[in-house]
C-alpha cells in the first residue's frame, strides 16, 4: 500500500474577494522511499498542498474536498489529538525558513529532546542521545557540544540542517519539504540534497519535495507533478516528464531555465503572468499564456488524460514540446 494517497484534494480560501481555489483537485500517491517533486511557481498551490497534508491550513482556508490517505487512513477523519500525535512523529515537515521551525529563545537541546519526548516515553538522556545521533547524521560537526547552542549561533545552512534533524528525530514515514534549500547557497544546497537522497534510500522515508527549481528536482525526484493555478497539469516519472513534456506549461518552464549550452540565445519565455487565483479564466487556466490555445481551451477545462500509472496531463493539445519545436 502507498504511504500517501491523495485523491482529488481541494483546499479553498474563503476571502472577502470570493473563494480562492488554491488547491483544486490534486491527486497523487507516494510509496515508501519514493521522492516526489512538486513543482510550480509562486501561487500555484504547491505549498498549500503540503500544508493540507499536515492539516496546517489556517482560516480562512479549509480543506473542502477529497481524501488524504496515509497508510489507507483518511487524515481528515482524525481528531486533533490523533493528528498531533502523527505530526512530527510519522509525518514531518521541513519549512523554507528554518527560523519558522526553531524557537529562537530555546537551546537546540531543549527543542530536540522535547520533540522526541512528545511522542515517546523515554528518558531525557536517551532522547538526548538520539538528538546527537541525528545531528551527526545531517552533517553537523561536534554534535554533542552544538546541542547547547541557540539557533542564532548557527549559520543559515546549519540551521536548516538542525530543522531537518528535528524532522528526522522520530523516523517519520513521510516528510513534506517546502522549498528547504531555496534560501541556501549552491554548495550548502548540494550538501543537503546529498543527505536527503541518502536518507530516502536508507530509511525508506517517502519525501515530497516542494520547489520551483526544476533542476533540483531533475537530480533528486523519482517522479514529478507540475502545478499551475491550483491544479496538477502534468505528472509522471522525472525522466519522461523532462525529456518529453506533454503540457505546454511544463515545456515553457523547461525552456525558461537558462544555461544549457544555448548561450546568448533568447530563452523561450512564457508570455504574461500567472492569473489571479480569485479570478481564474473559464476553461484551461493556462490558455491566456499558451501559444497552442484554441476555442475549446477557452471554454472547457481539460480533464486529466492518463498515459500510465500515476502519469498524465491536463491539456487539449498535448505533446507540446514537439509542436512548439515544429
Amino acid at each position: 500500500m502507498s504511504v500517501l494517497d491523495i485523491r482529488d484534494l481541494q483546499t479553498h480560501f474563503f476571502t472577502d474577494d470570493g473563494v480562492v481555489k488554491a488547491v483544486d483537485g490534486v491527486s497523487f500517491s507516494l510509496d515508501a522511499g519514493e521522492v516526489l517533486g512538486l513543482v510550480g511557481e509562486s501561487g500555484s498551490g504547491k505549498s498549500v498542498t503540503g500544508f493540507s497534508i499536515l492539516r496546517l491550513v489556517d482560516p480562512p482556508g479549509r480543506v473542502v474536498g477529497g481524501e488524504i490517505l496515509f497508510h489507507g487512513q483518511d487524515l481528515a477523519q482524525l481528531s486533533n489529538r490523533e493528528m498531533r500525535s502523527l505530526r512530527g512523529n510519522r509525518i514531518a515537515m521541513i519549512f523554507q525558513d528554518p527560523m519558522m521551525t526553531l524557537n529562537p529563545v530555546l537551546r537546540i537541546e531543549t527543542q530536540m529532546v522535547e520533540a522526541v519526548r512528545a511522542h515517546e516515553r523515554i528518558s531525557h538522556a536517551a532522547a538526548r542521545d538520539r538528538a546527537i545521533t541525528t545531528l551527526a547524521k545531517v552533517g553537523i560537526p561536534s554534535a554533542a557540544e552544538r546541542l547547547a547552542a541557540y539557533p542564532h549561533q548557527f549559520s543559515g545552512g546549519m540551521r536548516q540542517r538542525v530543522a531537518i534533524a528535528i524532522a528526522l528525530l522520530n523516523g517519520p514515514e513521510l516528510i513534506v519539504a517546502d522549498e528547504p534549500t531555496t534560501a541556501l547557497d549552491v554548495t550548502i544546497q548540494s550538501q543537503i540534497l546529498a543527505e536527503v537522497q541518502e536518507l530516502a534510500r536508507e530509511t525508506g522515508t517517502a519525501l515530497i519535495w516542494i520547489t520551483h527549481d526544476l533542476a533540483v528536482v531533475a537530480g533528486l525526484a523519482d517522479k514529478i507533478s507540475v502545478m499551475y493555478a491550483g491544479r496538477i497539469v502534468e505528472s509522471g516519472p522525472t525522466d519522461q516528464v523532462l525529456a518529453a513534456p506533454q503540457h505546454p506549461y511544463t515545456a515553457g518552464l523547461l525552456g525558461s531555465i537558462p544555461g544549457h549550452g544555448r548561450r546568448g540565445e533568447r530563452l523561450t519565455q512564457i508570455p504574461g503572468m500567472a492569473p489571479s487565483m480569485s479570478r481564474l479564466p473559464v476553461g484551461c487556466a493556462f490558455a491566456p499564456r499558451c501559444d497552442l490555445a484554441s476555442e475549446i481551451c477557452r471554454s472547457t477545462a481539460p480533464m486529466v488524460t492518463e498515459t500510465g500509472a500515476g502519469q498524465g496531463y491536463r491539456c487539449h493539445h498535448p505533446n507540446a514540446a514537439q509542436k512548439v519545436a515544429t
Binding site: E41, S42, S155, G156, G157, M158, D185, V186, T187, I188, Q189, S190, Q191, L193, A194, Q197, H212, D213, L214, A215, V216, A218, G219, L220, T238, D239, L242, G252, L253, L254, G255, S256, I257, P258, G259, H260, R262, R263, G264, R266, L267, T268, Q269, I270, P271, M273, A274
Partner: protein
C-alpha cells in the same frame, strides 16, 4: 584600447571600532578586540565596452559590496576605479560625478528600491529631470518612451508600485536606471526574486536592451545557469577575493581553481538524469577571521602547506586568470 571600466586593487574594509564604553571595558581588561572585515580584498579586473561580465560567488563573498563600490554607493577603502580612463574613485570630484551618472544599478528586490508613495511616472522621471535630460513638461512623454522600452504599458504611468506584479516592478526598476541614459548597468541579483517564467522574460529583456542601447553589464548573481547564459566573461569570488577570471566558455568547460571546480560540480542540472549530489566539505569560514594563505585552503582537496602560508598570486594564461598555487609552481 582602454577598457570601459577598470578596477585596480579595490578593497573595502568594514571596521568596528570601540565606542566609549568598550574602550573603558578594554582598559579594565575585558577580552575585546576591534573587528575588521575585508569584504573585498584587492580586486582587479576590467570590463570592455559592450561586454557582459558575470560576477559569481556565494553569499558573503563580497560580490554585492564590489558592485556597490562600482556604482558609487559605497566608498572605496583602497585602490582605484576608472571609468573610460577617468578616475571615479572619489565621488566628490565633479568630473567623476558626471561619469558616474552613466553607471546605473538595478537591485534585487524591486519593492524595497521603489518608493511606495511615488507614482511610477515620478519614480522613472525624477532623476532625468534633475540631470536635465528632459524638462518637467516633456517628462510624461519621456517616461512613456522608457516604459515602452522595457515592455510596460505607458498607460500605467499614474499607478503606484504596489499595483504591479514582481516582474513588472523589476521592469520599473530597469526603466528608472535607463532614464538617465547610462552605458553601464550593474545588475545585483536583479532576477533572483522572480519566478522562473518571469525570470526568462527579464533575462530576454536584458539581452534586447543590450543590443538596442549598446549597453555594458556587470551582472552579479549566485545562479551559475543565469551567468552561463548571459555573460561573456566570468569573475568568481570567494571570501572577498577574486579566485578566477575567464571567458564563459573556458570557465564552464575547464575551471582551473578548485573552488570554481567544486562550485560547477554542485549546480543541479537538467538533463543529467538522477544525480548523486557531491559536496565540498565544510562551510564558508567567517570573514571576521578568514584562514591564512589561500582562503579556500581548509575546504580544498588539493591544499598543501604553501596554501596555508602564502596568499596565491593571480596567474594569467590565455586570458584565463587564476589565483591558485596549483597553477603557480605547486602547493608544497
Amino acid at each position: 584600447m582602454t577598457p570601459m571600466l577598470e578596477l585596480e586593487g579595490v578593497s573595502r574594509r568594514f571596521e568596528k571600532t570601540f565606542d566609549a564604553v568598550e574602550k573603558l571595558a578594554f582598559r579594565l581588561g575585558a577580552d575585546l578586540r576591534e573587528t575588521c572585515v575585508n569584504a573585498v580584498d584587492t580586486a582587479s579586473f576590467a570590463v570592455g565596452r559592450g561586454e557582459v561580465v558575470g560576477l559569481v560567488g556565494e553569499s558573503g563573498c563580497g560580490k554585492s559590496t564590489l558592485g556597490r563600490m562600482v556604482a558609487g554607493l559605497l566608498p572605496v577603502s583602497d585602490g582605484t576605479i576608472r571609468f573610460e580612463g577617468v578616475d571615479v574613485t572619489d565621488a566628490r570630484n565633479p568630473q567623476a560625478r558626471e561619469k558616474r551618472l552613466r553607471i546605473q544599478m538595478i537591485f534585487q528586490d524591486p519593492m524595497s528600491s521603489l518608493n511606495p508613495r511615488m507614482k511610477v511616472q515620478n519614480i522613472i522621471g525624477e532623476a532625468a529631470i534633475y540631470h536635465g535630460l528632459t524638462s518637467r513638461a516633456d517628462m510624461p512623454a519621456y517616461v512613456a518612451g522608457m516604459m515602452a522600452k522595457v515592455g510596460l504599458d505607458p498607460s500605467y504611468a499614474q499607478r503606484y508600485p504596489h499595483q504591479f506584479s514582481g516582474g513588472q516592478r523589476q521592469r520599473i526598476g530597469i526603466a528608472r536606471a535607463l532614464a538617465v541614459q547610462p552605458d553601464f548597468l550593474i545588475c545585483d541579483e536583479s532576477i533572483a526574486a522572480l519566478d522562473v517564467s518571469i525570470q526568462a522574460q527579464v533575462i530576454n529583456l536584458f539581452q534586447d536592451l543590450r543590443r538596442d542601447l549598446d549597453l555594458t553589464y556587470l551582472f552579479i548573481s549566485h545562479d551559475l545557469g543565469v551567468i552561463e547564459h548571459i555573460a561573456d566573461r566570468v569573475v568568481v569570488m570567494y571570501l572577498g577575493r577574486i579566485v578566477e577570471i575567464a571567458p564563459t566558455d573556458a570557465l564552464f568547460r575547464g575551471p582551473r581553481h578548485p573552488y570554481t571546480q567544486a562550485l560547477l560540480d554542485q549546480v543541479p542540472r537538467l538533463g543529467a538524469g538522477r544525480q548523486a549530489f557531491r559536496t565540498v566539505k565544510g562551510e564558508i569560514p567567517s570573514p571576521l577571521n578568514p584562514p591564512p594563505g589561500c582562503h579556500f585552503n581548509p575546504r580544498c582537496p588539493m591544499a598543501g602547506p604553501r596554501c596555508r602560508a602564502e596568499v596565491p598570486r593571480t596567474i594569467t594564461v590565455d586570458g584565463h586568470s587564476t589565483a591558485c598555487h596549483l597553477h603557480d609552481g605547486g602547493t608544497a
